[in-house]
Symmetry: C2
Subunit: 352 residues, 2 copies
């Protein structure tokens, strides 16, 4: 077993070669996280890593370097990354977990390859049918977990139930929500609204121990009144990327208008602190990345454009999940519902 | 045939009883539209309509009142609205089209009931498999058409192709785009990304006469680089409502921050004109409503919360579609692709 338990520091393997900015952003981020008492394992080109480290104060920090000779490029196919790049930084980082040298992995590299390596190298927790990516997004109140944001398409009702069970545990263990409200993403609030899969998933979730609040709609995601929103990975990926795109486009339009006269430019100058706070509230970097749930070891998938803050926060999130024994709770939560899964197996197969 | 042709004014039946604000907003909106040379047919409670009209200057305007004794409530089921409320304002408005008294319908009432009445009363254009709702949304450049935003769930590949063909005509005839770029909403740009339905639809769209630019992602919707985005109604409805919710939540968060100090409140005051222009750019009311495409007569479904501007613009959009003979072009576009539909019928059935 990897080091879990409160007595030792969580140990996180960081894919140094991943992300648009590579080692020069990832290494300083990992060092910053190490200052929080997290043990970091830097995986990638040793020479590049040592060069980045030489400029930083690392005295007294628990930092290990594990060499990896290959790099998965952003346009590599996940299957190629798996088969042809067995010594890639992301694949070696995942092996650090299976070899007991780390408890979790953080990567800002090729998302598809990261998901594929995580699934193939780490393997699933017993009882998990489909690992899922949990997107964490800012709202008017607490952050919301949207699951799945792209690890699976054409999900079955039972998969959706498991996504909800896993995100419930994430919400408790990592975001500190005591009794998460779980909603099912649909196109109307009433039971019976939605497509065939959602209608069957509704019944499964109603029978579960989740605090299931029923269907929620697209407009409910950002109000902060629901803690977990469950959907198929196609819908969730569209929703996540749409949110990112819309937030950016709205900011662009607002900036353009605010720059259009000297009066409004002056006004913006006076409001600059408010705009900065606004940016902080809606900034994805505050949440670091999307945890891939259901594997034997947490993998946090970061945005390719992740800045240092995003990487630091992703490492912190992985460490928190280790400290709070998220994986043990995940296994317990799924096991507690295995009866429900069994009972509804037929219904789920019929719907398949 | 209803009055089409350039020689007579487009004649639009307006469901006066629909929407959260009812006759006191819808009647003034219809009168405003009539001032643009549109003939409006006001359908609903005659006494209420006459009372609203009495306070307005309607001299020289082409306004007709058609009585309807029932009202579809916002929580009525579409099937009940159809069967039990045959004299409802929305159903009577649709009958105005089949009876040749109007060319199109505008309603801000119960969306599900409006779609159901439109389909049942007006019937489909020959060759249309599934009528679809086209959402028109602001972007950084020109507005984008997202289709379908909720009339259908579990769409088949051939349905998606037809959605694209219909929205292409809408984009040309109503939004004035000369050669619309049509994208297929998926979770990766490369061919082969997405779920089973999307992968098959990709091939159909590639073979069509559309200016098909391939897969687009959620983040591409609001850049303004694509004119039509095609998706299943479940995904589109989530996307539409999410956009609405996110835009509102972002505004709320920004407002809260801007009000948090006297300095930023002063700044906001100086920038007030820029904020107003921003609001206008991102305001759904500028686009009026979502046209339901594929029926023998256009039905424009407005948001329940529609203000006067939204209703006026919806009526103008319906009139523009009549003036530009959108329905004839729709029928032609679909007929031109019936061979493609036939050729690919097997593929579509296999995917079903």
């Amino acid at each position: 077993m990897p080091n879990t338990g409160a007595q030792t520091a969580p140990r996180i393997a960081v894919d140094v070669m991943g992300g648009d900015f590579g080692p020069q952003v990832v290494v300083p981020a990992a060092v910053e996280a190490a200052r929080d008492g997290i043990a970091v394992v830097l995986v990638g080109d040793s020479a590049r890593i040592e060069s980045e480290l030489s400029g930083l104060n690392t005295a007294g920090l628990d930092i290990t370097v594990v060499p990896a000779s290959q790099v998965v490029e952003m346009d590599d196919k996940p299957s190629d990354a798996l088969r042809r790049k067995k010594d890639s930084s992301i694949q070696v980082a995942c092996r650090c977990v299976t070899e007991g040298r780390a408890d979790g992995v953080v990567s800002a590299g090729n998302s598809g390859a990261t998901v594929a390596c995580g699934m193939f190298v780490l393997g699933r927790i017993k009882g998990v049918m489909r690992p899922a990516l949990a997107g964490i997004m800012p709202t008017e109140k607490n952050p919301v977990v949207l699951i799945d944001v792209g690890a699976n398409v054409d999900s079955k009702p039972l998969h959706l139930l498991q996504f909800g069970l896993m995100a419930d545990v994430l919400s408790r263990c990592v975001l500190g929500v005591s009794n998460p409200a779980v909603g099912l993403l649909s196109i109307g609030e009433e039971e019976g609204k939605g497509n065939a899969t959602v209608r069957d998933a509704f019944e499964l979730m109603r029978q579960s121990d989740l605090r299931f609040i029923g269907n929620v709609e697209g407009r409910d995601i950002f109000t902060g009144d629901v803690d977990v929103v469950v959907c198929d990975g196609f819908v969730g990926n569209v929703a996540l990327k749409l949110s990112e795109g819309l937030a950016k486009s709205m900011s662009n339009i607002l900036k353009k208008q605010l720059r259009s006269s000297w009066l409004s430019r002056l006004g913006t100058l006076l409001s600059i602190r408010a705009f900065r706070r606004f940016k902080k509230v809606v900034d994805y970097a505050e949440y670091g990345g999307a945890p891939l749930l259901g594997l034997k070891g947490l993998v946090v998938v970061c945005h390719g454009k992740s800045n240092e803050l995003a990487i630091v926060n992703a490492i912190r999130m992985a460490a928190t999940s280790v400290r709070n024994k998220m994986h043990e709770h995940l296994a317990e939560g799924l096991a507690a519902h295995s009866g429900l899964a069994g009972k509804t197996e037929k219904a789920s197969k019929d719907a398949a």
